[in-house]
């Protein structure tokens, strides 16, 4: 099931999504990291960032809403604390990066160019939980294109903008990313959402709003991936609510060249391995020689 996504060679097309697998060591006792197609680590900005106040997460029907707010150790903290661990594995490391303004995005991207063992950069232009930036870029076509173009000039690593789902025509954003020099696009990020406690009439999350993920968003994600894949010739990485191999295969058939398992890592850490095995069994059962043959094979 080997695939090449934007120059990143993976032993299978199944990765773990940013924010749901920490930086690797957290799940190492429970999941064989060497079996993953790639590991996408939690979002990194330039310096240590504390994120939002608690409560930061609430379970809802069919998913959860999080407003962690991109807490992270910063570039140096990440490289020192986690890269020695991650380099032990035969699994590409994709770092999700973000900034509070364009300059910070550029600076963070540039800093990773010299880091040994980097597979690629996922550019987070769509986090709903940080007022300073993120989703403002992801929902404004001109801003998104400009930011991706600026970051492109500062990195030689494979660059994968992560797109917001809450836009009227996601294909336009995917195409703008391709035209600005992206090597692939990933989607969907979480959907902006909120929960109100009717007894106190207060929002449950301190940040008031957060991002919805989990099986509830899966059909939304499949539709957005299907639209994005038709708009571009670069690879699309599909994610959103994958719990089973079938959930993942829907993305592939819709046009995704690879997929990522996210919230289900919390529910059952063995999910990602089950998806890899289930996908291989499906390909064999249906006579596909490779995952690539299935990509975009939707019958309309």
């Amino acid at each position: 099931m080997c695939v090449d996504i934007a120059g990143i060679k993976m032993k299978n097309p199944v990765m773990v999504a940013s924010g749901t697998f920490g930086y690797g060591p957290e799940y190492a006792d429970l999941v064989d990291i060497n079996r993953l197609g790639a590991i996408v680590v939690k979002g990194i900005c330039l310096d240590r960032w504390d994120g939002n106040n608690v409560p930061r997460m609430i379970e809802v029907r069919g998913g959860l809403i999080n407003a962690i707010g991109l807490q992270g150790p910063g570039v140096d903290g990440f490289v020192e604390s986690y890269m020695p661990f991650l380099r032990q594995f035969d699994t590409p490391v994709i770092v999700n990066i973000w900034g509070r303004d364009e300059n910070e995005y550029e600076e963070v991207a540039a800093r990773f160019d010299d880091v040994e063992g980097m597979g690629g950069l996922e550019l987070n232009i769509s986090c709903p939980n940080v007022k300073e930036g993120g989703i403002a870029f992801g929902t404004d076509l001109a801003m998104a294109a400009d930011l991706i173009g600026r970051v492109r000039k500062r990195t030689s690593l494979p660059l994968i903008p992560k797109l917001a789902p809450n836009v009227p025509q996601v294909g336009l954003f995917a195409k703008a990313a391709e035209d600005a020099g992206a090597d692939a696009v990933s989607l969907i990020n979480t959907l902006p959402a909120m929960v109100i406690d009717v007894e106190t009439r207060r929002p449950v999350l301190t940040n008031r709003v957060g991002g919805l993920s989990g099986p509830a968003v899966h059909p939304v994600a499949v539709k957005q991936v299907w639209e994005a894949a038709q708009a571009v010739s670069i690879p699309v990485i599909g994610m959103g609510g994958i719990e089973t191999a079938e959930d993942a295969l829907e993305f592939i058939i819709a046009g995704a060249a690879a997929v990522a398992v996210g919230t289900a890592n919390f529910t059952d850490p063995t999910t990602v391995i089950n998806v890899i095995d289930g996908m291989a069994a499906y390909l064999q059962r249906h006579g596909f020689a490779s995952a690539d043959e299935l990509v975009g094979s939707i019958c309309e």
Binding site: K42, G51, R56, Q71, N265
Partner: protein
């Protein structure tokens, strides 16, 4: 830490609205120490994506048990778990209570189902101390016999006076501490945040060590999602988030920065 498919041995009411769930879980039980928890996937809870964390109550001879009270959707669904069912747990997780410097005169303070890990603790140490068990009513007072059979002194308080002394557990604790002049009892506490804070504030003011087990809503349980964070003052004086699931759930009272 591992994922284990545990088989339910028994599941019974143990008093009030509290249940004990006993599992055949030899791998998890073997490595468990008092203060650690398991992250349990509630069977047949449609549309649920998060596990539920429970302090380990007993871990012996291949069996592991937890105590819980029905407080929400997850625990409501747990009521239907039957002997013979399979329950998926991850554990043991988090760090245990530090016991190296427990001293000669330890004091345990429990609120509601917070008594579970403290009962486990009492059974694992040679010293016999004093335990304060508090609750709203007599229906919230659990595990008294556990401590008595180990030779511990048990002091019970209920807010409505239906069992033991009437009042808050900290009032009884204050009276006892006043009689302990010249000693430095090490505190271990588990219960609601308000109780933990009150116990911790007293200990910090008196210069006693108090190990508090925090109860937070958790996501992953293994330190990846950063949902269950608590403000903790580091050795350098800098306040930052620590993960209750991975860095805790036990923290010493003097380093906890409670919200205003």
């Amino acid at each position: 830490m591992q994922i284990e498919k545990a088989i339910v041995r028994t599941h019974e009411l143990v008093g009030g609205d509290y249940r004990e769930l006993v599992l055949d879980a030899s791998a998890t039980a073997a490595g468990s120490v008092p203060g650690q928890f398991v992250h349990l996937r509630v069977p047949r809870l449609d549309g649920s994506v998060l596990r539920r964390p429970f302090s380990i109550y007993r871990a012996r001879d291949g069996r592991l048990s937890i105590l819980y009270k029905t407080v929400g959707r997850g625990t409501k669904a747990m009521e239907a778990i039957a002997p013979g069912d399979t329950v998926d747990i991850i554990g043991p997780l988090g760090n245990g209570f530090p016991l190296d410097e427990i001293g000669e005169n330890p004091v345990l303070v429990a609120g509601g189902y917070g008594v579970a890990p403290l009962s486990f603790l009492a059974g694992e140490v040679a010293v016999k101390g004093t335990v304060f068990i508090g609750g709203a009513t007599q229906r919230d007072i659990l595990c008294v016999g556990d401590f008595e059979s180990l030779g511990w002194t048990v002091q019970i308080t209920t807010e409505d006076g239906s069992l033991g002394e009437k009042g808050l557990v900290t009032q009884a604790l204050d009276a006892w501490l006043a009689e302990q002049q010249g000693t430095a009892p090490v505190h271990y506490a588990c219960g609601p945040d308000g109780m933990l804070r009150a116990v911790g504030d007293r200990a910090v003011a008196a210069g006693h060590t108090a190990w508090l087990s925090l109860d937070k809503h958790m996501g992953c349980g293994v330190g990846a999602c950063l949902a269950c964070v608590q403000k903790i003052r580091g050795a350098d004086g800098r306040v930052g988030w620590k993960r209750v699931c991975k860095d805790g759930p036990i923290f010493e009272a003097s380093v906890i920065e409670w919200d205003a």
